[in-house]
């Protein structure tokens, strides 16, 4: 009996080390994010020195730099972070619920639905602002419901849900292509946004709905993350643990769709941010930990660094979606190698 005392002590020590490692990782990510924001704010056709940057941020007026930092770079960085967090969080919810790392909202058609509605509202109807966001959310929810209904046949299975989503996604993509083809040529910048996603010309007003949706839907998801964790163990286990499955799922899906759709309405369907954030976050979080916050941070990092690379590091200037989209191919290759080595089920 007494022999157990050192044992529990060891376990407690182990837990402390683990906690410390996890905290360290989260802190590192926040540090990287801060560094990314700093770099985005400083870099441009004319560089701003860190001292000037600080002076601008506390309210001084630095001639020749204030405008670039406050009107061009700050909205861009804000937008990247907010949409990145939305995509990351929304993506990991879908991957968790459908229990498949490839089943992210940008593959199964949720982003395509929101994007198609937004592009229709903007290009054909000439709308802007909140109306576009609301349309995108409504369309995202409609597509989610449609996928669910079409996949229903004596109950819904994850596999059928994903496949129906891929089919709908192809249809919605060609609808986007059609609307864009009919748009005047000068809307090419818009077209790029809706084909791959971009934060070019972002404004702080546009970022506001994303912030609100992140606070509302993201808060809701974080408050219920224990239930989501239980659902990762499988429906039966979750039910046995006392999770009201139907309502928990509906709430989680609706929040995730809301996050994805609002972000898509302003930045377009930024390729693969939702797809990549979840797996990376899960890897960082380790088994048995809820990856939600980390997924949001990873999403923000991906968006910020993708946009920075597209603007300043590569030859020529690319919208962020092109950069993150190109990351998808190496990730898939990595998945082959990793899965071969560990013989994990995909």
């Amino acid at each position: 009996m007494t022999g157990q005392t050192p044992n529990t002590g060891t376990i407690a020590a182990l837990r402390m080390t683990r906690l410390r490692t996890r905290l360290q990782l989260v802190l590192i990510m926040i540090g990287l994010l801060a560094a990314g924001i700093g770099l985005t704010l400083m870099t441009g056709p004319s560089m701003t020195t860190p001292i000037d940057l600080l002076r601008i941020l506390v309210g001084h007026d630095v001639p020749g730099a204030s405008f670039a930092v406050l009107e061009l770079r700050l909205p861009r960085a804000t937008m990247s972070i907010l949409t990145g967090m939305s995509f990351g969080l929304g993506g990991v919810i879908f991957q968790t619920l459908l229990r498949n790392p490839l089943a992210s909202p940008d593959i199964i058609g949720i982003s395509a639905g929101a994007s198609a509605a937004a592009v229709f509202a903007i290009v054909v109807l000439g709308w802007s602002g909140a109306a576009v966001s609301i349309t995108a959310v409504a369309a995202g929810l409609t597509v989610a419901l449609l996928i669910y209904l079409l996949a229903w046949r004596d109950g819904v299975s994850g596999a059928r849900l994903i496949l129906v989503g891929i089919g709908l996604s192809a249809m919605l993509d060609s609808m986007i292509a059609y609307v864009l083809l009919r748009a005047p040529a000068w809307k090419m910048q818009d077209a790029l946004r809706w084909l791959t996603g971009s934060v070019n010309g972002a404004t702080l007003e546009e970022a506001l709905p994303v912030l609100l949706s992140l606070a509302a839907f993201g808060g809701l998801l974080l408050a219920r993350r224990d239930k989501l964790e239980a659902m990762r163990l499988g429906d039966d286990t979750a039910a046995a643990l006392g999770v009201p499955l139907a309502s928990a799922k509906v709430l989680a899906v609706m929040s995730a769709v809301g996050l994805i759709a609002v972000a898509t309405a302003v930045s377009g369907p930024v390729a693969f941010v939702a797809f990549l954030s979840g797996p990376i976050a899960k890897y960082i979080a380790g088994p048995g930990r809820s990856p939600l916050i980390r997924a949001a941070l990873v999403g923000a990092l991906l968006m910020l660094s993708g946009d920075f690379a597209g603007q300043h590091l590569l030859i020529g200037r690319y919208p962020v979606g092109v950069v993150t989209g190109a990351l998808g191919a190496p990730y898939l290759i990595f998945l082959i190698i990793w899965s071969n080595r560990t013989e994990r089920k995909l």
Binding site: N100, L102, A103, D106, I107, L150, A151, R153, S157, A159, R160, I162, L163, V164, I166, G167, L168, S169, A170, M171, D173, S174, M175, A177, Y178, L181, R182, L192, L195, T196, A271, F272, F275, I315, G316, R317, Y318, G321, V322, V323, T324, G325, A326, G328, A329, L332, I333, L335, I336, S339, N340, E343, R344, K345, L346
Partner: protein
């Protein structure tokens, strides 16, 4: 005894009987002829019989005859491309024993398009011959890539995993294609023709060089009909019946890749023809690949012509690219096939 008289058995027997198949062959050929006539006569300007006959004899005196002269190569290209894609789809469904296989869904066409764009942008390719070789190389590489990802983990290459791998690969290659085209205004056709497939602007000069590739692909595919029949029984049974499974798959895959690559080099990526057509053919002539393959080619031609005509009618006075139309027609069929399957088979 009583079952013989039931309609189900009669229909199945009719499908298998030589007479039934010959009847369907005649019907399909007749439909193909009608579709061709419809294609040269309908469009932004409708033309009469006299003008069509005159234009076929090489006259371009009146406006109507000139219009027909433009529509003729377009129709021929639609027949050829549709036949190639239909045949490739049937072969892919046979190789992977997967009812959802299609050059578009599996990302093969997107890979071919990306390869051509890389060839133009980085290696300064200009000739159609070079395009063709590059497209075939790209189609082959992406086919291997998708099959490798799709067969990861337990259970091998299930329809779900193949479709997900294909969708993800398509998104990645579309992003890369866009990334390469964006800074280059000089690339032939620009973003549009390498993201959405179309048969507009066809000329006999452009069609001729790809014929040898298509013919070789056709021969490979048709010769593999017998081994596809054996593969349908499962790898073990096929090996037991004397088929060299790996060789049979490889030869058939080479044929399909040749067809997809050559088609994408002239038309750009067109999806869903290869998905829909084999399923229609199975309803008509049963499950024998020796009949399905030629039927898929003929039906594919009809489908693509009709899709092209539909694109001209719907969007008058402008046109809708045929790649958009096939996605709209094909995606519902995809969802229907998914719904027909039991969860276990996905």
């Amino acid at each position: 005894m009583t079952a013989i008289g039931s309609p189900g058995v009669t229909v199945a027997a009719f499908r298998r009987s030589r007479r039934g198949r010959v009847v369907w062959l005649l019907v399909v050929l007749l439909l193909l002829g009608c579709a061709c006539v419809v294609s040269v006569s309908i469009g932004t300007r409708d033309v009469g019989w006299a003008d069509i006959l005159a234009a076929v004899r090489g006259k371009t005196d009146t406006m109507a005859q000139a219009v027909v002269a433009v529509r003729m190569p377009r129709t021929v290209l639609a027949v050829i491309a549709g036949a190639a894609l239909g045949l490739a789809g049937a072969v892919m469904q046979g190789i992977t024993r997967n009812p959802l296989a299609d050059p578009g869904i599996l990302g093969v066409n997107a890979g071919a398009a990306m390869a051509v764009v890389i060839g133009i942008a980085w290696f300064g390719m200009e000739t159609l011959d070079a395009f063709l070789w590059t497209a075939i190389l790209g189609a082959g590489l992406s086919a291997c890539f998708v099959y490798a990802i799709g067969s990861l983990g337990r259970g091998g290459a299930t329809p779900l995993k193949l479709a997900l791998a294909g969708a993800a690969t398509s998104v990645a290659s579309a992003s890369l294609t866009l990334a390469i085209i964006l800074p280059r205004n000089d690339i032939a056709g620009g973003v549009r023709s390498w993201q959405i497939g179309g048969v507009g602007g066809a000329s006999f000069d452009a069609i001729l060089p790809c014929l040898p590739f298509l013919v070789v692909g056709l021969i490979f595919c048709l010769l593999s009909a017998r081994s596809l029949n054996l593969l349908a029984l499962g790898d073990d049974a096929a090996a037991g019946l004397g088929a060299r499974v790996a060789w049979a798959r490889g030869a058939a895959a080479i044929g399909a890749v040749l067809l997809c690559g050559a088609t994408t080099a002239i038309c750009g990526p067109i999806g869903f023809v290869g998905l829909v057509v084999p399923h229609i053919c199975r309803l008509l002539v049963g499950v024998d690949y020796r009949w399905i393959l030629p039927f898929s080619a003929l039906t594919g031609g009809i489908l693509l012509i009709l899709a092209d005509v539909l694109g001209r009618i719907v969007a008058r006075p402008s046109e809708m690219d045929v790649g958009i139309v096939t996605a709209f027609v094909g995606a519902p069929v995809f969802i229907w096939i998914v719904r027909q399957r039991r969860v276990r088979d996905l």
